[in-house]
């Protein structure tokens, strides 16, 4: 079946006409969106897609957003970004159908049980064990930095199934039911005062073998495939000049004429230029991605965007002057730091930007080794069994 952008937009208009986004609750709207096949256009028919080119996704999303609907990713951030593509690729069809619709509507949120206290940048060194027991796996370990775990029903989980082979080769990828016995979620308070992330303790948690995605020992390859999904989804996003962190700075600048000095003006203009060059790089990447050409732009976008957001909020706090040293509250209400909030909170929150989702140091390694093809660093743990790798 071949469909073009105009037909996609027409289907989208039908949905927003029958389910006016401003009147209909999000799960109902996104359910209709899913049933028509507009959630992931490149997915199979019946699983939220139309077997269509993913480059048409923007045409659909634009109609939804212009009608007042949500940016789809925000309905289930981890679910859309990391999970859905893995499920459709590796899960049997009936399980995929079971998982994907409530994922798409936001009725069942997903999170990612990857990082551990002993495995951050070196994710492949993780220690959570999964041991086979008949048709089930028994999982023990501790995960950390799990956003949304306290709200989620499901998680994708990376666990070690063979400690006697080198680290990348002994991992397996699972779907874990967070309502299963033995799962304990503890909010992790961060330096902003709030708890957006969690620690997740897994004590003899039983996972059916049917919830394994990909072969035993192939977990690393499965998790890498979601990274390329992230890269591809770059093209779905709509980026406008002067939005995001730099938009915050522009709004503050406009509201504080008495803080305008030539020095601050120059600093803001230089930040604006960096933001704009970055935005244009993303736009250029989208054009390349539409033709199936993937350059280094996604890694660059993360590296530059995160460092830039820190510099932008440093500027904002300085522009506030003494008021910048005030803070609304450190009370931990278990809320998160997303959504509209104060400049001071964004300033503190931005420290995480260069750590989460790949530190700036790791990203520079990625650009150096995968893009520029520079020789790899000496790796002492590469060819020895995971069991024998020194750990802190």
């Amino acid at each position: 079946m071949s469909i073009d952008a105009e037909e996609v937009a027409a289907l989208a208009r039908d949905v927003v006409r029958s389910h006016p986004p401003r009147a209909v609750p999000v799960p109902q709207l996104m359910g209709a969106w899913y049933d028509v096949g507009l959630t992931w256009l490149h997915f199979p028919v019946g699983l939220g897609g139309l077997d269509a080119p993913r480059t048409l996704q923007r045409a659909a999303n634009r109609v939804l957003i212009e009608a007042g609907g949500p940016e789809p990713r925000t309905v289930n951030t981890v679910g859309y970004g990391i999970v859905a593509g893995t499920i459709v690729r590796y899960a049997p069809r009936e399980l995929a159908a079971r998982w994907l619709r409530p994922l798409a509507t936001g009725e069942e949120l997903w999170c990612q049980l990857f990082s551990e206290p002993g495995a951050g940048s070196d994710l492949a060194g993780l220690a959570t064990r999964a041991v086979r027991d008949g048709d089930e796996w028994v999982v023990n370990g501790q995960k950390v930095w799990t956003s949304l775990a306290h709200l989620s029903r499901w998680a994708v989980l990376l666990a070690r199934t063979d400690p006697d082979v080198p680290k990348h080769k002994g991992l397996t990828y699972f779907v874990a039911d967070l309502h299963a016995p033995g799962v304990r979620v503890r909010p992790l308070r961060q330096l902003t005062g709030r708890a957006q992330f969690n620690e997740v303790f897994l004590d003899d948690v039983r996972i059916p073998d049917a919830h394994r995605l990909g072969d035993v020992g192939r977990g690393w390859q499965v998790s890498m495939s979601t990274l390329s999904d992230e890269r591809l989804s770059l093209g779905d996003r709509v980026t406008a000049r002067g939005t995001g962190p730099i938009g915050d700075a522009l709004a503050l600048w406009a509201s504080r004429p008495r803080a305008h000095t030539p020095v601050a003006r120059e600093r803001l203009a230089r930040l604006w230029l960096r933001a704009e060059a970055q935005r244009l790089t993303v736009e250029r990447a989208k054009v390349g991605a539409a033709k199936g050409v993937f350059g280094p732009e996604a890694a660059i976008a993360k590296l530059v965007g995160s460092e830039l957001s820190q510099h932008v909020y440093e500027f904002c706090v300085e522009l506030l002057g003494p008021e910048g040293a005030l803070y609304e509250s450190y009370d931990s209400d278990l809320g998160d730091d997303e959504g509209p909030t104060t400049y001071q909170r964004k300033y503190l929150r931005s420290r995480a930007a260069t750590i989460e989702g790949g530190t700036s140091e790791i990203l520079r390694n990625v650009l150096g080794e995968r893009v520029l093809k520079l020789p790899p660093d000496t790796r002492t743990d590469k060819d020895i069994p995971w069991r024998d790798v020194p750990r802190s």
């Binding site: 120059e266 244009l280 790089t281 590296l303 520079r364 520079l374 790899p376 000496t378």
Partner: protein
Amino acid sequence: MAEFEFTEDLDDLRAMVRKFCAEFSPEPVVRATMETEAGYDAELWRRLGTELGVLGLAVDEEFGGAGAGLVAQAVAVEEMGAALVCGPVVGTLALAIPLLSAAGDDATRRAYLPDLVDGGRTATVAAPLTGGTFDAAAVTVAAKAEGDGWKAEGDGWVVSGRVEFVPDGAAADLLLVAARTDHGVALFAVDAAADGVRREPLATLDLTRRQAVVEFSGAPARLIAGEKRALAALAHAARVGAVLLAAEQVGGGRAMLDRTVEHVTGRYQFGRPLGSFQAVKHRCADMLVAVEQARSAAYHGAWALQDGTDDPQLAASIAKAVASEAYTRVAAAAIQLHGGIGFTWEHPAHLYFKRATADSLTLGTVAQHVDLVAGIALDRD
């Protein structure tokens, strides 16, 4: 053609210019040419114009060009910049050709453009463009109408005054001069060989980029654009020039990045390649980021001026500010990462570093373009 849509035609053009430069303007040729008095090889320039046809890519076919648009011209300039081709890129390609395309009537364009596009003649612009825009208040040349018309070649006008920092000014055959009349600033064409034109070549930091002081004393001049049209055309030329220089900066930055990656991959210290050390690798990653951002900014500028899709001054200043900073930082990092060899005359890193410096000081510094951006993006009401 949508923004950032690099078509097969553009890819072919890039490959063609790259091949030509590798063959006919390799480093030894650049070094030999930069030591000559003129600073460029007239024959090589002519071949770029006639054989390759890459000097008038944005010029209408009617006036000898290819009518392919500014993006195509930027691609060609990027490749020439990567090879450090010696020639009047700033004076003729980046300034005079865009200025004539925007300023003259059809007869004027027909009279001047084909020769410049063919590379048989060169031209430059003697006008205050050093601030990143055309600064009419800083015009230092006065034009007078000679009632008796005793200088027939000059259309009845003469110009007098001194212009500093004229790019490629010593070798140009044709000088396009902004001069003050009783009614404002108008644009004139002056034959560089005419009586009343004195040119003094300046010693430049970048030997591949020449400048001159040009002094007019009653030199015969031909009026090309009156007061209204001249201002708009000069402003336009400053923007096109900034965007084309930005493309050149992208090319030079990319060349330095490639060269540096090659060096740190092949050179061993402490028993391992330099590039395996994170301190080195991360600096290379930063060079890559700078080049990629500059590429986005430069080509956005080219597409915006070609298709009218953005505020032209904003697009030009974004391009020039981002690309200037990128090229100078990348060229400096290249010297550092090459170590001692990078500081020698023998290694080409200094040629790029000097070009980067010259480019960043031509047609507006980073600070001046940042100021222009601030004026547009921040100073609204």
